[in-house]
């Protein structure tokens, strides 16, 4: 009896990564998962950030070295990724703080504030990109 019940019962396990591709996330959900991804990215690159600060402050020679180091294309792309991560994490975080005050917690305003996060973070990231690649 108990074995028959067990066989018919659907098993609910923790979702796997493969499950996530079937999800069509709402915009607020995309902001949310990018908040997490940007946080993890900055955590992983923490030694790189400390390295940059270290070189920028140690001496005038290391400051000059840093100028050469950051003219490398790959380094520029990493800095751009970090800048985007910071901007997105910052904006999504402010959105969280506002929601903590019970402002904009319904579905409609949640979507609007999600648009707001991208509307601020993406143009600013684009600005950083233009600066990095020497447009101005």
């Amino acid at each position: 009896m108990s074995e028959a019940v067990k066989k018919n019962r659907r098993q609910f396990n923790v979702m796997t990564f493969a499950d996530t591709v079937h999800y069509r996330l709402p915009l607020a959900g995309i902001v949310s998962i990018l908040h997490r991804i940007s946080g993890i990215l900055m955590f992983l690159l923490l030694p790189f950030i400390l390295f940059l600060l270290d070189k920028s402050l140690t001496s005038e020679i290391s400051f000059e070295y840093l100028k050469g180091f950051t003219s490398n294309l790959l380094v520029k792309l990493i800095i751009l990724a970090l800048s985007w991560a910071y901007l997105h994490h910052f904006c999504a975080g402010i959105r969280h703080l506002v929601m903590d005050l019970h402002i904009g917690v319904d579905k409609d305003s949640g979507r609007k504030s999600a648009v707001g996060v991208f509307a601020v973070s993406l143009p600013l990231a684009a600005l950083v990109a233009l600066k990095l690649f020497g447009v101005f």
Binding site: V14, R36, G39, I40, M42, F43, L46, P47, L50, L53, D54, S56, L57, T58, E60, F63, E64, F90, G93, I94, L97, D100
Partner: protein, 122 residues
């Protein structure tokens, strides 16, 4: 005293570090946001353009302290966030999760030491 745990006042969780971490995450976020504004002002007033002005900013004791406090806020914030990440994704083995959490903590403490060295050496 025991009667206070009835109905809506019933305590459903034990350790209460959930609220502490939630609050710490917010407070540290605000500290970092304020520091970001300081850095932004420094950038806009041209204090980041040369080694003299950049290092000059970091040579002041108040700025060293503010920077260090921001770094400590950052590390606490990272701890709360990464602990959530490990709790969400490393679910098969409690032991493995503990390893990741302890490694994160030790790593952040190490980074705090490095940050202190960078700030006060210059």
């Amino acid at each position: 005293m025991a009667n206070n745990n009835i109905g809506p006042k019933r305590l459903v969780v034990g350790a209460h570090y959930g609220l502490r971490d939630w609050l710490a995450q917010r407070v540290t976020a605000i500290v970092m946001a304020l520091y970001t504004i300081i850095l932004l002002l420094a950038f806009l007033t041209g204090n980041m353009s040369s080694y003299e002005t950049w290092a000059g900013m970091f040579s002041q004791q108040w700025f060293k302290i503010v920077t260090f406090v921001t770094f400590l806020s950052l590390f606490y914030h990272v701890w709360v966030g990464m602990r959530d990440v490990w709790m969400d994704y490393v679910t098969k083995s409690v032991g493995l999760r503990l390893v990741f959490q302890v490694a994160t903590l030790l790593w952040l403490i190490g980074c705090a030491g490095w940050a202190a060295q960078i700030i006060w050496r210059a």
